[in-house]
Symmetry: C2
Subunit: 438 residues, 2 copies
Amino acid sequence: MGFKLGILGLGTVGCGTVQLLLDSDGRHPLLEEIEIYRVGVRSPDKPREVKLPPGVINTDLEAIVNDPEIDIVVEVMGGLEPARELILKAIRNGKHVVTANKAVISRFGEEIYTAANQAGVYVMLEASVGGGIPVIQPLKQSLSVNRIQAVTGIINGTTNYILTRMQSEGSSFDSVLADAQNLGYAEADPTADVEGLDAADKIAILASIAFDGGIKREDVYCEGIRQVSKTDISYAQKLGFVIKLLAIAKKIDKLSVSVRVHPTLVPLGHPLASINGVNNAILVEGEPIGQVMFFGPGAGAGATASAVSSDILNLVSQLISLPESKIENSKYKIPNLDPLLASFHQQYCQLAPSEELITRFYARFLTKDQPGVIGKLGTCFGKCGVSLESVVQTGFQEKLAEIVVVTHDVTEGNFHKALDEIRNLEAVDSIPSLLRVL
Amino acid sequence: MGFKLGILGLGTVGCGTVQLLLDSDGRHPLLEEIEIYRVGVRSPDKPREVKLPPGVINTDLEAIVNDPEIDIVVEVMGGLEPARELILKAIRNGKHVVTANKAVISRFGEEIYTAANQAGVYVMLEASVGGGIPVIQPLKQSLSVNRIQAVTGIINGTTNYILTRMQSEGSSFDSVLADAQNLGYAEADPTADVEGLDAADKIAILASIAFDGGIKREDVYCEGIRQVSKTDISYAQKLGFVIKLLAIAKKIDKLSVSVRVHPTLVPLGHPLASINGVNNAILVEGEPIGQVMFFGPGAGAGATASAVSSDILNLVSQLISLPESKIENSKYKIPNLDPLLASFHQQYCQLAPSEELITRFYARFLTKDQPGVIGKLGTCFGKCGVSLESVVQTGFQEKLAEIVVVTHDVTEGNFHKALDEIRNLEAVDSIPSLLRVL
């Protein structure tokens, strides 16, 4: 038993990880080098599915990150504090860290990486994005010879589950959400999922790795799925699209990137269009590789435990292959970190101004039933340089005509300028939907 | 410029790799540590798309693997010999090896790994399976905490292209093959692709990593797509399937595995059903992760160069993070290889006897147009313990009735016993198709 773990947190992910590690037969033999030495919890008397030897469970989390016996701290407690503070203390104490904490890494990643590089330890975060899907390590190791152009993901299972059911059943957002809450696929307070905040955390992390620069979490544009109506899902389908909550990180030019989360019309033939239910998928585009996609379970105890445990195993593999002389050193502090495994960002990425971004739009208008309304819309768009792919009067709602427009590529700025003009048209009642098109 | 490459071969993959390495701006900064020191070719005067400084190109391949200046040998020449011999010599000379050679690794992997472990060097082979798709490294590093139950792949782009076009156009195998040859998607001698031999090489490699044991290449069951008719593709579609050439490695029990390549009916909702054209995809199933899938371009200069170069980068990253004292040692020979990056197999996997394997079958029969034929077929199947999911008389061909049968799970042995009885029925003219169902 060479390496001692201090695990912080014994919720779903913590229990899954402990169960995997305690049941190592038939897995990688290196797992036998790992000892679950301490597990820190806040409520020691809560009934739990895992059995640990007496003395392992501890309520003093500080003591764990300060314990000189511990080699690797595994943070699976979630939340911002005290998780951030405990991670930083563990690092300063020379411990390697494995974390599943997307909230902390997306907000304090640079602070944590800087501390880790100074201390000569690794911070591993495969479980922070895409549950069990290997995506952080492939991006860092297997794909980093590419010039990454874009990372596009369905990385929130709850919203994908809701959209998939709205699509297949023709149901409304509210009714599917209520059902998802009953089934345990959505939380009682669904805000983080439904508003896209969870996906924004994750795409900020993926973007920082893909583009090798920090991303300021507060700069990530984020639009959730509350306003996606069954009407739009049905029109999208007729036009050959499905609506997905996409998290998109794109290289704009040598200096700047865009990082955004929003519901998006995805063409039916696109690899992401067929990702349904709680599954996640991350599509990476680069030169010279082209498109590669990683697909799998984006959440759940087992899948996330796979990612956490593989990070632990990777650390053990690094530590065990050090020459004897290094192992004798105080707690394996590594003088030269493996640059593909460590996280270095030399600078922050610059986020391109929103109004300059180029995309296609889908918009739905309710207008008075007058002749010439389509012409008036077209004139407003044309004046602002917005070229239309299609304009269809799709029907009537309570005496108002319903018109759906799909644009060609436009800048966000020009499109919104056109919308401002259109809102002032006497014939226009309202613009109930505005979505982007991949 | 820390690390010197000796590249063997300057064909499609070699040129792609050289181009990527010579154009490193905007890629991982570690690439700048790499020098293309020698490139060994057989025909130095052949016109090539890459420009190399004078003195780099060399026709003496032996000299490259013996050159004490060279740190990493990159074998991208293909074929069995002299590739195998050169790889072994490079290893014995203490050089790390990167290879894209599925034929050599699937046949001589154990010999090569043993030599590498004795010499304390790495053998990297990401490019040998799935072109640019990261799959070898995720299997070795990110998924190895799982008990892998199955690896199922579409890992030959040529056959997937042919089957996709047969499906979408209703064309015959021969006409699509001829067209694929004209377009450069199939070789003049298409045997290795069409007979499944290329896929068998690749699944042998994936299985040996997934199940941590050598696979004897000659034991891999292999059936190609020549006998897949447009008739069967059309029936399969009506039954809710597409036909794909699948390479399947499965854990049967603690001791044995099955490793097979055959055309297979895949249910339309299955993640592999929508993988079309020259794309590849590898689905890994394990406990506790569930299903993860890797998708992308399975061939091509750029994609394969991405895999080769990422292997080179991984080696450099390993070498550069060694403490100073090790670097001064003769040519970085590493005393303790990183166990997740090295290839160790303690034994060979045992392949389960074919007749005991359990699968579903699809079979098409031509019979005389007599009453009671379906009953006779059913009786033969029933006697042998083969339970049928459906029996449909689908039509007539030249006065013969055509009957399509889909079974439930059966052993291969029982199914073939039933077929032997059926062949002896007076009413049965022939059994033109026999396919497995996923």
